[in-house]
């Protein structure tokens, strides 16, 4: 007896996602940030680094939606461009993790001989607290956004790889993989067609949380002066500069802080939703 709506597993999951309240809320929040990042040249034209001393410390108003900072620069411009930088950082880190985390995780999970080597290396890397390692790397390489991305990738790839590895280890033992081998499938075919597609769920959930961590860590690093060099605006360095003026112009530190919070919150809700829907225990089993 077949069910009423024959659908591919992917379509079914998508439907479930779109009905999940947290996912939709998180996706909405994050979309706002994403849109701001994409549309930055349109909605915040003009140079975010342009100084106009006569306009300094203006509170938010109709002319200057987010007010101005100590150099008279439009905070609206700076925060929007900062959003672009945050989103790009997050995307880059996620992309690097998707590629290298999957690669190392799949190799470690499937080939037992590689497992030992790869996991010992990953253990060594994971022994360092993420932030400290990132600080160390950027301190050595010098402050810039690409160094932040590199540092975050180095820090998180071992963790991502572990997650992929766990999935692969479980799937590797499933009977449909044995069946594929019985048909004559080679290792690469099995990895490509059977193991990786079925291992994606935990990875996707992890990547959404990773996006949030990246944005947050980038802000932290640039707050500490290890990220993009001023005057390039990042939420972190805007907040760093705004620290001194917390009493006179609290919006300088508050607004990027709120933006950061909403972004991370949105991504976390999105991730929760993904996890609820993609968790294999809730999968379509009779």
């Amino acid at each position: 007896m077949t069910s009423a709506e024959p659908t591919a597993p992917g379509t079914q999951l998508l439907g479930r996602l779109l009905r999940h309240r947290q996912f939709v809320t998180g996706a909405a929040l994050f979309s706002i940030v994403l849109l701001a990042a994409i549309l930055a040249p349109v909605i915040a034209p003009g140079d975010p680094t342009r100084i106009a001393m006569r306009l300094k410390f203006l509170p938010p108003s109709r002319d200057h939606l987010f007010g101005t900072d100590n150099f008279g620069r439009s905070l609206w411009s700076r925060v929007i461009w900062g959003a672009q930088l945050s989103v790009m950082t997050g995307l880059a880190v996620v992309a690097l993790n998707a590629v290298f985390g999957t690669l190392f995780g799949a190799l470690a999970g499937y080939f037992k001989r590689l497992d030992n080597v790869l996991m010992r290396i990953s253990d060594a890397l994971m022994a360092f607290p993420a932030i400290l390692l990132a600080i160390g790397i950027t301190a050595v390489l010098g402050p810039s956004t690409s160094d932040v991305i590199l540092a975050l990738a180095v820090v998180y790839v071992p963790r991502t790889a572990r997650i992929v590895r766990s999935s692969v280890i479980v799937i590797r033992e499933m009977e449909y993989v044995q069946a594929a081998r019985a048909c004559g499938a080679g290792d690469w075919r099995i990895l490509r067609r059977h193991i990786l597609p079925n291992s994606m769920a935990p990875l996707i959930v992890q990547l959404s949380f990773l996006f949030a961590y990246s944005v947050l860590t980038e802000a932290t690093l640039s707050f500490l002066g290890l990220g993009a060099v001023p005057p390039t605006p990042t939420w972190g360095n805007i907040m760093a500069e705004g620290r001194q003026y917390m009493v006179q112009a609290p919006w300088i530190i508050a607004i990027p802080g709120v933006a950061l919070m909403l972004t991370v919150l949105g991504l976390n809700l999105l991730g929760d939703g993904l996890r609820d829907v993609l968790d294999p225990r809730l999968r379509i089993q009779p």
């Binding site: 499938a185 079925n198 089993q285």
Partner: protein, 322 residues
């Protein structure tokens, strides 16, 4: 064809459990410990036994899904154990397997058509050909052509098992290992699948190794039956003989333990004791710890397989002595 289709001699599989850093030799699990038998073309050999007897491992060894530790497997005269990767791949066209779990045996992300078509794709069947052959195979197992576009989760347990059978048949193999193919199904569906397997055997001239723990189903579908205990075959005979005149005490106990719908009085001889761990099998005859007829020689010397009558082999000192 001269000679049996499949001939197995002294097949062994040992698992080493618990290797430490320094590769200290820990326990050795003798999952399959010196098994020999032959299956003729078109025949069904039933393989029964309880947990730890190694029957599932044996099935997978025949296909080299697990690599044997020793012994030979001759399929149509060719020693499968010595084939290289390419040769093994070719061999996989002729020897296939059906699994027990209809839920774990199908990739949930692949459509039925992809699942059944995968063996064809692997063996370089022209792409244009594949949908037609998939459709034919689906109809062979009692499914509709239209099911090719659907996904496993939309089907019942029995139908999923049919899909698994279709996958095994896609390349029209000559030999199929049926590893408990009906144990996970409801009884009314079991009968359907058993009938299907028999029909397919007749239609496609298949040879089966039918592994199961349900003695009645095995008796129904097999021509000959082998009984395994702790990695070894203890008795092998044609089905009527083994059920009417079982010689090995374990076979007798197995048959006596099956609950009958026509019970003759409440009490029968019950086999006492637990099944020993395969890690530490008893010395001598492995069954001696539970055998009601145990003698001194049983504790010391493992019995050899002897032919009690032509075609009926038993490994038991009681039989060998007489």
């Amino acid at each position: 064809m001269t000679g049996p289709l499949l001939e197995v001699r002294d097949l062994e599989k040992h698992f080493v459990i618990g290797e430490g850093w320094l590769q200290r030799q820990a326990a050795r699990l003798r999952a399959v410990d010196g098994v020999s038998f032959a299956i003729g073309a078109g025949e069904t050999l039933g393989l029964v036994g309880e947990s730890g007897c190694g029957k599932s491992t044996l099935g997978r060894l025949l296909l080299r899904l697990i690599e044997p530790s020793g012994g030979t497997i001759r399929f149509e005269g060719v020693d499968v154990t010595t084939l290289d990767r390419a040769g093994l791949r070719r061999q996989r066209r002729a020897m296939q397997i059906i699994f027990q779990d209809p839920y774990g045996a199908l990739d949930p992300r692949m459509s039925v058509g992809d699942i059944v078509g995968e063996p064809l794709a692997i063996h370089a069947v022209p792409r244009a050909e594949i949908p037609r052959r998939v459709a034919e195979t689906l109809e062979l197992v009692g499914l509709a052509r239209g099911h090719a576009g659907r996904y496993p989760h939309e089907f019942s347990g029995g139908q999923r098992q049919r899909i698994g059978i279709a996958r095994a048949l896609a390349l029209r193999p000559r030999f199929i290992v049926c590893d408990e193919p009906v144990s996970a199904l409801d009884v009314s569906v079991q009968a359907q699948i058993v009938n299907l397997l028999q029909d397919l055997q007749a239609e496609l001239r298949l040879t089966y190794l039918f592994i199961a723990h349900d003695l009645a189903v095995v008796k129904h579908i097999s021509d000959r039956v082998a009984v395994m205990y702790l990695g070894q075959i203890v008795e092998i005979a044609d089905k009527r003989t083994i059920y009417a005149r079982p010689l090995h005490p374990y076979t007798q106990a197995l048959i006596a333990a099956v609950p009958s719908t026509r019970p003759r009085g409440r009490r029968r001889e019950r086999l006492a004791g637990e099944i020993p761990s395969a890690l530490h099998p008893p010395a001598g005859c492995r069954f001696h710890t539970r055998c009601p007829y145990v003698m001194d020689v049983c504790r010391e010397q493992p019995p050899r397989m002897v032919a009690a009558t032509p075609g009926h082999e038993v490994a038991c000192h009681l039989v060998a002595g007489s």
